[in-house]
C-alpha cells in the first residue's frame, strides 16, 4: 500500500525508532510499512494517523 510515512516522519525529524516507540511497535514494523512490504492493520493505521495528527487518508 502506497503511503507517505517516510515524508511525514522526515517533516517531524523523527527517526524510525522514535516513531516505533510512539506507535508501540518495533522499528522493523515501521520500516516494513515505509517500504510498502507490509500493510498495517486498521487499528495501527488509526494510531499512526493520531500520532501524525492527520486523517487516515493523508497517510
Amino acid at each position: 500500500m502506497k503511503n507517505h510515512l517516510r515524508v511525514l516522519r522526515a517533516e517531524r525529524d523523527w527517526s524510525q525508532a522514535e516513531l516505533a516507540e510512539r506507535l508501540s511497535v518495533s522499528r522493523q514494523t515501521v520500516n516494513a510499512i515505509e517500504t510498502e512490504r507490509y500493510d498495517p492493520s486498521l487499528p495501527l493505521a488509526f494510531e499512526t494517523a493520531r500520532v501524525f495528527e492527520c486523517r487516515i487518508e493523508d497517510l
Binding site: Q28, R37, Y38
Partner: protein
C-alpha cells in the same frame, strides 16, 4: 527482531552469556562424570571436586549476570539459547551408567529452564506487535510442517528396521526449523 527497545549490545551480551552458560553446564557435567567414574574405584579425587565447585560457582555468577540482561528485556535469542542449554545439559553425560545416582536430580533440574522457556515464549508472543506475530506464526507453521514431515517419513521407515534416532532429535529439529523459519520470514520484511 521483536519489540525490544534495548540496545543491540545487551542482546549480544545475553547471547554470549547463554553460550558461556551452556559450555559451563557441559563442563560441569563432564566434571561430575569424571568424579563419579573415579569414585567407583577410589575416593572421589579432590581435583574433580574442585573443578565441579568452580563450574558451579561460574554457573551461579553467569546466571546472576543473565538475570540482569533478562530484566532489561529479553530477545528471541535468549530462549533459543535456553533451549540449547537444555539440550547440552541433557546430551553431555548421556548413556553414562556411572552417572546413574545423580541422573534423576539432573533430569529434574532440566525442568527449570524448560519452565523458563515456556514463560519466555508466552511473554514474547504477548509483547510482539502485529508484524512480529505474523512472522512468529509463519515460523511456527514452517517448523510444524518440517517436524510433521520428518515424523511421517520416520514412521514409514520404522517398519524397515531403521535405527531409532535419539529422542532429543525431535526437540532439536523443532528449535532449529523454527529458528530457520524466523530468519527466512523476517527477511521478507527487511
Amino acid at each position: 527482531m521483536l519489540n525490544d527497545t534495548h540496545p543491540k549490545s545487551t542482546q549480544k551480551l545475553g547471547i554470549w552469556l547463554l553460550l558461556a552458560l551452556t559450555a559451563n553446564g557441559a563442563l560441569l557435567r563432564l566434571a561430575l562424570s569424571l568424579a563419579m567414574r573415579d569414585g567407583t574405584r577410589n575416593p572421589i579425587p579432590a581435583a574433580a571436586i574442585a573443578w565441579a565447585l568452580a563450574a558451579l560457582a561460574l554457573t551461579a555468577s553467569l546466571l546472576w549476570l543473565l538475570r540482569s540482561v533478562w530484566r532489561r528485556r529479553d530477545s528471541w535469542a535468549l530462549y533459543l539459547g535456553a533451549a540449547l542449554l537444555c539440550i547440552v545439559f541433557y546430551k553431555v553425560g548421556r548413556n553414562r551408567p556411572e552417572l546413574a545416582p545423580i541422573e534423576l536430580p539432573l533430569a529434574i533440574l532440566l525442568l527449570a529452564p524448560a519452565a523458563l522457556l515456556v514463560w519466555a515464549f508466552v511473554r514474547q508472543v504477548r509483547r510482539a506487535d502485529e508484524l512480529e506475530r505474523k512472522i512468529l506464526f509463519q515460523a511456527l507453521a514452517f517448523a510444524f510442517v518440517i517436524e510433521f514431515s520428518v515424523a511421517i517419513v520416520y514412521a514409514l521407515l520404522e517398519g524397515m528396521d531403521v535405527p531409532r534416532p535419539p529422542s532429543i532429535l525431535w526437540a532439536s529439529l523443532l528449535v532449529m526449523s523454527w529458528a530457520a523459519g524466523l530468519g527466512i520470514f523476517a527477511r521478507r520484511y527487511e
